[in-house]
Amino acid sequence: MAEPLLKVRNLRTYFISKNSTVKAVDGVDFEVYPGKVLGIVGESGSGKSMTSLSVMRLVPGPQGKIVEGEILLEGQDLLQLSERAMRDVRGNRIGMIFQEPMSALNPVLKIGEQIGEVLVRHRKVTKAQAKKQAVALLRSVGFPRAEQIVDEYPHQLSGGMRQRAMIAMAMACEPSLLIADEPTTALDVTIQAQVLDLMRSLKEQNGTAILLITHDLGVVAQMADDVVVMYGGQVVEAASADEIFDHPLHPYTQALMASIPVIEEERERLQAIPGTVPSAADFPSGCRFAPRCALAEERCHEQMPELREISLAHAVRCLVVQGKTDRRENAT
């Protein structure tokens, strides 16, 4: 396999205040490969957004801080870069799209000016060249009226159009990595399909690597090559998308798959996961899923499981679950 484009090692991002330490990201490892989509799933508060903001070094300060870890982009540790050098990475080598495009777009600048600005800054083109490129970019994300759209303001566009404009902006400098945090959550299904198609063609035609963050297992199943499942600031399972969906091993991943309605199947009763997500300021000792886990044993409440590779390229953080080979033996 190719070398990973992005390698995240033991990332810890905490919010530290007088009264509490919120362990938003607590020892996360993963890799993203060129031309592949890594999906990060997990429920609200599991640390998905903080992971992606950490990669961009945009963790909200002063309380939020990356306290440990390495973020290697093509072998270079972004955590060692000066803020100035980091500004050359953002928007240039790493593009980012967010759930709410309005938060990333400047409401008083025309769409073309915003895209052009990125090009002028990183690519040192003239304003006129930048505008021309902006039109081409807008056309490539599916705007038939691109010449007019460059002169429109964000509020004149619909939600789906704004999201596509933001993708055009993120792609302006042909970054090798695109980080997309819930890019379609606010969109209608038919518009979501358009945006997902666009991301797919970016990866296929430009070889862009994509870090796709979502809580929607459906989107992950359709888009991802590899999947990381997060729970309580940690990676609890990591494998190829086929493995995750066909042979989920972690009790949380399994429960998650059984808890959602699926169109293709008739599910009499959904298998609900009891209890609620633990607070990142006050994790239980031992396994963070133990209070809700149907398989929990006594030791689970005391001992924190390590993320173990239990079969080729399939890692699980659980004391009880065995690998596939063992599972087969048990079954017979």
């Binding site: 399909a193 199943a221 086929d242 969906f245 066909d246 808890s259 169109i263 298998q271 609620t276």
Partner: protein
């Protein structure tokens, strides 16, 4: 036209439907200019008809802005319909006001997407649930206390929740509180508007199971509004698909999900991402955006995005007609 009674209920037509929605329209004025004169209308709901039987769940799907919430609010008589009639339990309520409406309100209740904004943060959970009981004088203080406790138990909360406040609960627990409050007056009909959309997937299942249990226990009927097609399939008996204020298809779920007739339903289903690998489905990616309901396209409102558009579609509006027993569709392909 008896729109939308499912086959199994057709034979029971002696039983009158719990809810009858007939040619309901809800238009919102658009004002403009210095004089704030009405310069047009948003046709949020534009001639919708269907019936709902006791114990039945009707799912309502469609894209943002198509009028789902507005229709739900008209059924709840939060809004007065611009036109059409609304009958609950044989009684017409389309234009009732004040005391006359309040007297019937206990029969129908609404559960919203954001449980937080629908619960007064300064009231304890106990008083939130007791409020409708007190207002409608449902027993002595002691009896009401008892009812509050039993309602909390029904939705799976401990009795000590009474003395706590909404902000002390998680999203899923708040939705339980909102449901307990909606159940207090023993309604027959609940309109659930994106009731699980804001919840985490693992919590969503708890609430969906609770709604299913309540339906069995109390014979409740639901109008279940959601943009999530898988969730709607899970809870519904029949499903209505809306586009720009109108129903484009209405069918028992077994039919709607296996042989959708309307090109829009087909596109919606093909775009719904399934949480499975290797689902071989033909994907229909629609071009363009949803048009504004203030300026709906002429003829069939879907013609600007329809992959199967014909000339007639641009000028003539297709009516919702029964195509196969129980399955209604508004599209020229079928006429």
């Amino acid at each position: 036209m008896s729109v939308g009674a499912p086959e199994s209920f057709e034979k029971l037509q002696t039983v009158q439907p719990l809810l009858e929605v007939r040619n309901i329209k809800k238009y919102f004025p658009i004002t403009g200019g210095v004089l704030r004169r009405t310069i047009g209308h948003v046709k949020a709901v534009d001639d919708v008809s269907f019936t709902l039987n006791e114990g039945e769940t009707l799912g309502l799907v469609g894209e943002s802005g198509c009028g789902k919430s507005t229709l739900g609010r008209v059924i709840m008589r939060i809004y007065e319909p611009t036109e059409g009639t609304l009958t609950i339990n044989g009684q017409e309520i389309s234009h009732l006001k004040g005391e006359a409406l309040r007297k019937l309100r206990h029969q129908f209740q609404m559960v919203f997407q954001d449980p937080y904004s629908s619960l007064n943060p300064r009231m304890s959970v106990g008083s939130l649930i007791a409020e409708p009981l007190l207002v409608n004088r449902r027993g002595s203080r002691a009896q009401i206390q008892e009812q509050v406790e039993s309602l909390l138990a029904i939705v799976g909360l401990s009795p000590e929740a009474r003395v706590r406040y909404p902000h002390e609960f998680s999203g899923g627990q708040r939705q339980r509180i909102a449901i307990a409050r909606a159940l207090a007056l023993r309604p027959k009909l609940i309109v659930a508007d994106e009731a699980v959309s804001a919840l985490d997937v693992s919590i969503q299942a708890q609430i969906l199971n609770l709604l299913a249990d309540l339906r069995k226990e109390f014979g409740l009927s639901y109008v279940f509004i959601s943009h999530n097609l898988a969730v709607v399939k899970h809870v519904s008996d029949r499903v209505a698909v809306m586009y720009l204020g109108r129903l484009v298809e209405l069918a028992p779920k077994s039919k709607l999900y296996t042989q959708p007739l309307h090109p829009y339903t087909q596109a919606l289903l093909s775009a719904a991402p399934e949480p499975k690998r290797h689902v071989a489905r033909e994907r229909i990616v629609l071009m363009g955006d949803v048009p504004s309901p203030a300026k709906p396209p002429s003829g069939c409102a879907f013609h600007t995005r329809c992959p199967q558009v014909m000339d007639v579609c641009r000028s003539l509006r297709p009516e919702l007609k029964e195509h196969t027993p129980g399955q209604y569709v508004a599209c020229h392909i079928y006429s």
